[in-house]
């Protein structure tokens, strides 16, 4: 990757974070400009990268766009120097982890992205579980990289390819890092705690970094192809079981934020299941689904936060609130993102779900059935949330509130266009991801007979 462009993409948000915290003025404008620079730099990186190596720059572009959108979507109440600084810091750290080929820098990016969540003035949460989850995942990754360093190996991912550095101990630690960071069962509860008690948009950004899936695609598969080939079925079962477990768990959850986090977790477990399916269809589906889940969950969390700001933070899914009467456009945006998350035809997730189901059923004909079952349950849960929030009798306690403001409408429209336009013309994005999927599949050196 072009070093100077990468440095710009990473460095500018970090500078913006410092500037926002120091000057404490025009913070939204500063953050917007910084995220825009990151988007531009990442776009150039995507254009320069060959198709088979475009995953990292594509992820950088996606995350920069998410941050750009989040900056505009943030309610005025949330747009403090601390929040803006934290988001920009998170952006820089995440891009650092995506872009690097060096294990030490990857570890630094991984740890730095969690830092704002340990400080009260940034995104600190009351519950101990998010802090423990993030700390334990960082510790597992640090231990794995330390073991590789101790064994006298190089620190470059390219140099370590197919060499299984550190053997099973390192593999185990990397898998533990994935499970802890990605919120795979039984380490899933911290994500719901973070979403429930932390700031909505920064937590959604942290989760949508999908560092667990990135570690699988970027590190585990290239470094440990043989071990991965043997043990991926087990991991795949675990991911599918997680998708189902959390989908069932979501059925009785009434806190909108926790419910959304469960649905997002369950859908992103599908990403891991696809990556571990060892088929090009499954891996491509996972990579495309990665983009869909990220865009949709950011949109949903953003809308939920806007509703909280307008109607109070004690929203619940236990009764009908009828907010659609007050905010019909927010309701439409929510419905589209919700249905896009669970495979509505005409959205990109219809293609990604199709590929995921084909891939996982091909590699695991029986356990693969868990995936469509989990998706069906998630669809019911997300529609329940929509129905409870937006439909039903209008609450008389609320005064008249603004629907989506122009600034919010533009961002949400861009998100909707992303999932719908690529849903109608998926071949470009699927072909790009398919090229990267072939790289992953070739690394695993497995051809599942048809």
């Amino acid at each position: 990757m072009n070093v100077s462009l990468t440095a710009v993409a990473i460095g500018v948000p970090w500078l913006a974070a410092i500037l926002a915290v120091v000057t404490r003025r025009q913070v939204r404008a500063i953050a917007f400009a910084a995220a825009l620079v990151s988007v531009a730099a990442s776009t150039l990186l995507v254009q320069a990268a060959p198709a088979r190596e475009s995953l990292n720059p594509a992820l950088m572009l996606l995350f920069s766009c998410l941050t750009l959108g989040s900056t505009l979507l943030l309610a005025r109440r949330d747009c403090t120097p601390g929040t803006i600084g934290g988001i920009q810091f998170l952006l820089g750290s995440t891009l650092l982890a995506y872009s690097t080929d060096d294990l030490r820098i990857l570890l630094a990016g991984w740890i730095l992205s969690t830092v704002p969540f340990f400080f009260e003035q940034w995104f600190g949460v009351r519950s101990w579980r998010p802090r423990f989850g993030l700390l334990a995942s960082s510790a597992a990754l640090a231990a794995a990289i330390a073991l590789i360093a101790v064994s006298g190996q190089a620190m470059s991912i390219a140099a370590l390819k197919e060499r299984s550095p550190g053997g099973m101990a390192v593999f185990g630690l990397l898998v533990a890092a994935v499970i802890l960071r990605k919120g795979i069962c039984p380490a899933h509860a911290w994500v719901a705690d973070a979403a429930g008690s932390g700031p909505a948009i920064p937590t959604a950004l942290l989760f949508n970094g999908h560092f667990g899936a990135m570690l699988v695609a970027k590190l585990i598969v290239p470094l440990f192809p043989n071990t991965a080939r043997d043990l991926f079925p087990l991991l795949s079962y675990l991911a599918m079981a997680t998708a189902l477990y959390i989908a069932i768990r979501a059925l009785t959850e009434n806190s909108p934020r926790r419910l959304l986090s469960f649905i997002a977790l369950s859908q992103s477990a599908c990403i891991l299941a696809g990556l571990e399916s060892r088929t090009v269809e499954g891996i491509t589906g996972a990579l495309v689904h990665w983009f869909v889940v990220t865009a949709s969950t950011m949109g949903l969390f953003g809308i939920l936060r806007l509703l909280e700001v307008r109607f109070g933070e004690n929203l619940t899914a236990s009764k009908h609130l009828g907010l659609g009467e007050h905010a019909p456009r927010l309701a439409v945006f929510f419905a589209v993102f919700a249905l896009a998350l669970v495979g509505l035809p005409g959205t990109l997730s219809f293609c990604s779900q199709d590929l995921l189901i084909h891939g996982t059923l091909e590699s695991h004909p029986l356990t693969g059935l868990l995936l469509p079952i989990a998706t069906a349950m998630n669809a019911v849960s997300v529609l329940r949330l929509f129905a409870r929030l937006f439909l039903g009798k209008r609450r008389t306690g609320f005064t008249v509130m603004a629907d989506a403001l122009p600034r919010e409408r533009w961002v949400l429209t861009a998100g909707v266009l992303f999932v719908v336009v690529f849903g109608l013309y998926p071949s470009w994005i699927v072909t790009l991801r398919s090229a990267q999927a072939e790289t992953v599949e070739e690394a695993l050196q497995v051809q599942v007979p048809r």
């Binding site: 069932i248 439409v332 219809f350 189901i357 091909e362 439909l391």
Partner: protein, 428 residues
């Protein structure tokens, strides 16, 4: 690709309602709210043009003796050996369904312009009507099971959104959610069947003839498709959602549960009827479900307290009989039955509100209730059996009770158990 006018007409007929949905929807999002007259005229024009387009296709097929009009757009997306083919097809099976959809959707559009006049959700209703018509046309004109699944899902979601049309009331919203849950559960059958067909036959396209399946493969695929068809057609044991779906406005009930949506399941089975015919088990399963549904429908309908639910159960009974016909291999009898039934039932649904008024008028003119007709064979049964049957029918075959007790309740118990496990050490 497109080579002659009949292909252009087929594409137009399928896409027209979808394009209108997108245009009206985007304009609304941009702040334009069209007046009722514009919406109803655009709807009328669209469906009238579609009717003429389909008529021209029928004419062409009749004159040239061509079996089908097929439009191939290549693959929607490709991943190594896996393709999602975009093929539209109008053949002797799909054309009657396509015709039925555009004619009835046009009629419903015309009727609704008056019926929903000054209703707050007027535009929303028409948007959903167009999306539904597009989904149905896509499902009926699909040349591959993948594309059929896309249209199928669209029909499902519009159906749910129309059940929740009167969104200020809690009951329609909750019933819509229940219907959605049943649809999604049964659609798993279709998704897995599409995968199985692709995996075993190497293609999910049927534009050049049905994929070849034999033995246990044929049976498994047929049973999976039967699950999907039963969910969409409200067959036993999934019939419980049908009375709940009557919460929607009458025109949508007419087109969904009297005509198009309720017969989509039968269309799916008709499409794979040659494969069903290969498997004795699948044929027997289709016939059994059809018989059980017909009996359930006629019994439950007789104890229904409102006209729409009574009509819905009457519809269910007929669709049960259609399933029997398909299971027995009487494909064209089933097609004719569907066309006749859909037309009559739509009329009955649309007449339901004014029919009650007419009955009251008639009763007042004859000076009381009309004399009962026919023999009451139920008197041949003992009082105890009659009472049991009455209670069974009144509770709609206990299907919802069974579903609640054996599926939903255990699922909720497990979910709450998981919640308690998650809460250990957590902070709310």
């Amino acid at each position: 690709m497109i080579e002659d006018y009949s292909q252009i007409l087929l594409v137009f007929a399928v896409l027209a309602p979808g394009v209108l949905f997108v245009v009206l929807g985007v304009l609304w999002l941009l702040g334009w709210s069209p007046v009722e007259r514009v919406i109803s005229r655009l709807t009328g024009l669209t469906f009238t043009a579609s009717i003429f387009a389909l008529a021209a296709i029928v004419w062409k097929l009749a004159v040239t003796g061509t079996p089908a009009v097929i439009v191939t757009f290549g693959n929607w997306f490709t991943v190594r050996d896996y393709h999602f083919p975009l093929v539209l097809m109008a053949d002797r099976l799909s054309l009657p369904f396509l015709g039925m959809t555009v004619v009835l959707a046009g009629l419903i559009g015309r009727f609704s312009a008056t019926y929903l006049h000054r209703e707050r959700g007027f535009l929303r209703f028409f948007l959903l009507l167009h999306l539904f018509a597009f989904g149905s046309l896509l499902a009926f004109a699909a040349g591959s099971f993948d594309l059929l699944a896309g249209g199928w899902e669209m029909v499902g979601i519009t159906s749910v959104l129309l059940i929740a049309f009167f969104q200020q009331r809690t009951a329609p919203v909750e019933n819509a959610l229940r219907v959605f849950a049943v649809y999604r559960a049964c659609d798993i059958g279709l998704l897995v069947a599409v995968f199985a067909i692709y995996n075993w036959a190497g293609t999910a396209s049927f534009a050049g003839g049905l994929p070849v399946l034999s033995g246990s493969h044929a049976t498994i695929v047929c049973l999976l498709l039967l699950l999907a068809a039963s969910g969409k057609a409200a067959q036993v044991p999934f019939s419980g959602w049908l009375p709940r779906a009557m919460e929607g406005p009458t025109p949508s009930s007419a087109i969904f549960y009297g005509a198009i949506s309720i017969h989509a399941g039968a269309y799916l089975l008709l499409r794979v009827q040659p494969i069903i015919g290969q498997s004795l088990l699948a044929s027997a399963a289709v016939v059994t479900i059809g018989v059980l549904t017909a009996v359930h429908g006629t019994m439950s309908g007789r104890t229904s307290a409102d006209a729409k639910t009574f009509l819905a159960y009457a519809s269910l009974t007929q669709v049960g009989v259609v399933f029997v016909e398909i299971g027995m291999g009487w494909k064209w009898v089933a097609v004719v039955h569907i066309l006749g039934h859909a037309t009559v039932r739509t009329l009955q649904f649309l007449r339901a509100p004014s029919m009650l008024h007419d009955y009251h008028k008639m009763h007042s003119r004859v000076g009381g209730e009309l004399a009962p007709t026919g023999k009451h064979l139920d008197t041949l049964l003992s009082d105890r059996t009659q009472m049991w049957l009455y209670r069974w029918s009144l509770d709609r075959g206990h299907l919802d009770t069974i579903l609640d007790r054996w599926v939903i309740y255990p699922l909720m118990v497990v979910s709450r158990l998981f919640a308690r496990l998650d809460d250990v050490g957590g902070v709310r």
